[in-house]
Amino acid sequence: MAVGVDSNEKFATYAHPERLVSTQWLHDHLGAPGLVVVESDEDVLLYETGHIPGAVKIDWHTDLNDPVERDYVDGERFAALLSEKGISRDTTVVIYGDKNNWWAAYALWVFTLFGHEDVRLLDGGRDKWIAEGREITTDAATPSQADYPVVERDDSEIRAFKEDVLQHFGNPLIDVRSPEEYSGERTEIPGYPTEAALRAGHIPSAASVPWARAAAADATFKSREELDAIYKGEAGLADGDDVIAYCRIGERSSHTWFVLKHLLGFERVRNYDGSWTEWGSAVRVPIVTGSEPGETPARR
């Protein structure tokens, strides 16, 4: 029971226009049968301060990550979560969030690990909705329990592990962190020492494209032309490339994954969610410091 796509002109220029909806489209479709709106933010309390009417909350940390192992939830927990949120396997899910949809893209990527077919982002996310003066509410959403099937997570298509990266050399890597993290000047985020890695720098040969460059000032995605200029022009990606993106824990790179996969149409794009917190603490992996990508290491 999927809901129709947004035939917005801007979206038509992207490889997969059906992956985005505009704030106007969402406004017009709120409450439509078969549609569930999900808010996913960095801050676990932001939803409680006001959200799109009827939207449910999914938190990247407490809902999508395994509480013990560094991994995502399994099929059973995912099914229980989505059922509780009123989402069925054929539901059209529109995800939105703060910070240019950074965390919303992360949630969308996790939904994709479980093969949820119709999952879209609200272009411009929470910020644009609010900037336009559209309705928000603090009323808790009361979804009726759905029956989401237990689906095994598929890590083979869009997720890369450290071993995959070591095998990937010679193919493009995109580092989406800040220039200071890329060069190695900064090993940690001030005030959050426990999220640091033991070494600083970047994976050799990775191009630096900070994730937020894909977003315009109003938090929407930049135009196809602008994105092509950044990723194909500056970063040198070519059609048909097999690409791996990474950041610090795999969240910012989910945003870039979305851009490369759904907006620019690269078939083979993986997110290395171990990212710098794994690579920068791993034993005997190559690292380059400074602002240049560095030599491409041999595969191993």
Partner: protein, 146 residues
């Protein structure tokens, strides 16, 4: 340090959280966030505030003072879009208000983990409050040494 040694303000906050169900604790954290007062006038143009850390975690700024009677006050600011961080700052600010320097320095580093919030907000985020408490103590030490 046992509970009987925790300063009363911190002990009360802890009891308030632990008396609630896990989900309700988030609501209480939001109430704390809403109670965080604006910075006093004298800090509004502080140079530190201009150095925004845009990547990743939300920026939070704290200013610790000790008055003539030796009582500590902590002022903090964090963006409206970061209610969890504001809640953490508000707990630390209310919990430390009026304590002596010695009392503040003796607050256990594990205090943030004792509020029963770990499950509701995740261990990673709780570390944000631990870091905040640590920064408050460091600022106080520098102030006392100066």
């Amino acid at each position: 340090m046992t509970d009987t040694e925790l300063p009363e303000s911190l002990r009360e906050i802890k009891e308030e959280f632990l008396a609630l169900e896990v989900r309700e604790r988030l609501q209480l954290l939001l109430e704390f966030a809403n109670e965080l007062p604006d910075l006093p006038e004298r800090y509004r143009d502080h140079p530190d505030l201009l150095e925004r850390v845009e990547e990743c975690q939300s920026p939070v700024y704290i200013f610790v003072e000790v008055d003539d009677a030796g009582a500590v006050q902590l002022f903090a600011t964090a963006p409206r879009e970061s209610p969890t961080t504001r809640g953490f700052a508000s707990i630390v600010s209310q919990g430390l208000a009026g304590l002596t320097v010695e009392q503040v320095l003796a607050v256990p580093e594990t205090y943030p983990q004792e509020l029963g919030l770990t499950e509701a907000v995740s261990p990673l985020r709780i570390r944000g409050m631990t870091a905040l408490l640590g920064r408050a103590k460091q600022q106080l030490l520098r102030k006392v040494a100066a």
